[in-house]
C-alpha cells in the first residue's frame, strides 16, 4: 500500500513534533526520542494503511491548538496532546501505532531493552523445557469429560 500523496511540510513538522511529545529522548535509559531523524524517517516511510487516519490526527491536533502543533509552546502542546488523547478514536490509534511500530524497532531502543536487533528468523530463541513434574497432581485426577448417551 503505497501512498500516492504525501504529508505536507507543515504536517510533517507537526508529526515530528508530536512524536517527540509522545516519546521524548531519555538519558537514564540512553534512548533517542521518536523525533530522532532516523526513527522519524522510518515513521514517515511506514505510514501505509494508517496514512489517512494519521493525517486526520494531525488535523485534529492543529484544530485543538488553534495553530500548527509544532508552533505551540511546550505547555500548550502538553495540554493539546492531553485533550487529543482524551478524545480517543481511530486517528489517535493510528498515530500512536505509526510512531510506536518504528520506535520499538530502532537498534538503539532494542539494545536498551536488552534485546538483539534482529528478526526472529533464522536464529529463533531457546525455550526452557520447564519442570514437567508440575503435572503430577493433574495426572492423578479422575476423568473429567462427560459420558454421553
Amino acid at each position: 500500500m503505497q501512498n500516492e500523496i504525501t504529508l505536507s511540510a507543515e504536517e510533517t513538522r507537526d508529526l515530528r513534533c508530536v512524536a517527540g511529545v509522545m516519546i521524548p529522548a531519555n538519558a537514564e535509559f540512553d534512548v533517542p526520542g521518536a523525533d530522532d531523524a532516523a526513527i522519524f524517517a522510518d515513521i514517515v516511510a511506514s505510514l501505509g494503511r494508517d496514512f489517512a487516519d494519521v493525517r486526520l490526527a494531525l488535523g485534529r491536533l492543529a484544530a485543538l491548538g488553534g495553530s500548527p502543533f509544532a508552533d505551540l509552546d511546550e505547555t500548550r502542546r502538553q495540554a493539546v496532546a492531553a485533550s487529543f488523547q482524551a478524545e480517543a478514536g481511530a486517528p489517535l490509534a493510528a498515530l500512536s501505532r505509526s510512531v510506536l511500530q518504528c520506535y520499538y524497532r530502532d537498534d538503539r531502543v532494542i539494545h536498551s531493552l536488552g534485546m538483539e536487533p534482529r528478526p526472529p528468523f533464522p536464529k529463533g530463541h531457546v525455550l526452557e523445557q520447564g519442570d514437567w513434574s508440575l503435572l503430577d497432581p493433574v495426572r492423578t485426577r479422575p476423568k473429567m469429560w462427560r459420558d454421553v448417551p
Binding site: M1, L100, F121, L127, E128, Q129, G130, D131, V148
Partner: protein, 532 residues
Amino acid sequence: MNEMVDVLIIGSGASGAAAAWSLADTRMRILCLEQGDWMKPSDFPSNGRDWEARRYADFDISPNRRARDTDYPVNDDNSPMKVANFNAVGGGTVMYTAHYPRMHPSDFRVRTLDGVADDWPIDYATLEPFFAENDRMMGVSGLAGDPAYPPHQPPMPPLPLGKTGARYAKAMNKLGWHWWPSDTTIATTEYDGRAPCINLGHCTPGCAQGAKASTDITYWPHAIRAGVELRTRCRVREITTNEHGMASGAIYYDADGVEQFQPAEVVIVACNGIGTPRLLLNSASSRFPNGLANSSGLVGKNLMLHPWPQVFGYVDERVDGDRAPMLSIWSKEFYETDPNRDFVRGYTLQFTRGTGIVNEAITSAAAGRLPWGQDHHSTYRKLFHKRLQIGIACEDLPEEHNRVTLDPVLKDSHGIPAPRIDYVIAENCRRMMEHGIARAEEILTAAGATNLHAARVALNSPGHLLGTARMGDDPERSVVNAWGRSHDVKNLFIVDGSIWVTSGGVNPTSTIQALALYVADSMKKRLATLFD
C-alpha cells in the same frame, strides 16, 4: 471451456485440503479452485525487522485492513466481534495460532445433556478415527493422558513449558484446577518434511521455519502428488445448477480476471463460515431464488464466532514474551456445564505467553496504560516481556439472528456482493464471559501478576467462523445432512466450519478437519449411490 471434472472443491483451507487429500485415493479427477495465492515462507513477517508492524498491514488478521487483492471485504460494522480470516492456499491455517483442541464428547449432545440448541447428527465416537488421522496428517504436538478428554496420542511431544508455562502451572496447582499442555500443530520434532519449532514466536502470521502446520505444507503436497489439481487466484462467483436441480459447476474469475465456467459432477464447498453462505446466497437462481441449498432458510443463519475475552497482568520478572510460540497450556476446569453456575455450557482457558516489543507498546498505549512523555520509558519497562495472558474460549450457542447476508452495497474487486455480518453476544455467553474473567483474574493473581486488565469490549476476533450451513437430519432445520450433503442439491457437499451445529468452547480447526475427512470418507463409501 474447461474440461469436466469429477469433483470440484471450492476453497483450499483447513477443510478443503483435507477433503481433497482424502478423496484423491478414488482416482477421480479432482480440482480445487482457490482465490488466494501459494504463500512463500520467505515472505512471512518473521524474516524481517518489520515483523510486528506487518501484523497491522499485509498480515493483519482482518481482511478489511489487510485488503490484499486476494481478499474480499466483509461488512462487520454491526458486530462487536470482527471477522478474521486468511485467503490463500491453506486458508485460515496460514494465519492461525495452531491451538488444536478437539471438541469434547458432550459438545455433540447439548440438547440432550443441557436442554439448549440442538444435538449434532453425529458424535465424538464417529469422528474419533478421523481426529486421529487428521492429527497424523497435520502433525500434532501434545501429551497423552489429559483427564479432560477420551484417550488420544498426539504424534509429537508437547511444546516446552518455558518460564511462563511453569508460572501458570504452579498457579493452577495452587488453586487445584485442571491444566494440561495444549495440543498444537507446531512441530516439536522433524515431521513429514517439516522442521521443528525454533521459537520464532510469531506463529500466527505464518511460520518462516515451516514448523506450524498449515495445509499448504501438510495436506496439499500429498494431495497434489496423488493427482489433485489446485488452481490459484480463481475466485468463484457462483455455483451453477442444471435443469434437474443438480449442481453443474461453477463460474469463476481466473488470475487474469477472465470469467470462466468449470463443469463438475460433484461440487464441494469449503469456503468457511462466512465465505460459504456468501457463495450459496450469491448462487441464487430462478429455481433457487433464496440462494442455493437454502430451502430451510438457514443458509447464513446461526453464525457462531466464539466470544473470547482476554485477561492479562504483569509479573515482576521477564518471562517468555514473544520468544516462543504464544501457546502453552489449557484448562478445562470450567468446560462442562455446572448447574450451580448462572449459565449453561462452558469454556476453555487458553494460556498464552505474552507479546512482542511493538505489540506490547501498541496495545498498552491503546488501553491507556502507556503514557506519553518522560514516564513512557519507565512504564514500558514494567510491561515489556512481563505479560501473562489468558484467553477465554466461550461456547457460542446458535441463534438465527446472528447471521451472514449479502451486503446490498459492498462488493469485492470482481464486483461480487460481499458478506455482511449481524451478530450480538447472547446473555448466556455474557455470563460465561464474566465467570471466565473472574477465574482468569484469580489465576493471574496466583501466578504473581498485578496490574490486571480484561478486554471485554474490544473482543479479540479468533477467526472462528461457524454454523451458517448447519448439518442435521431434518431438511427444514438444517442445510446439509449428517454426512455433509445438501438436502436440496444432491451433488453439493459442504465440509467447512459452516456445517457446525453448535460451537463447543474450543478452537475449531481440529474438529473442522476431522469432519471434512469424515464427509469425504462417507462420500467414498457411497460412491455408487452418492446422489440417491
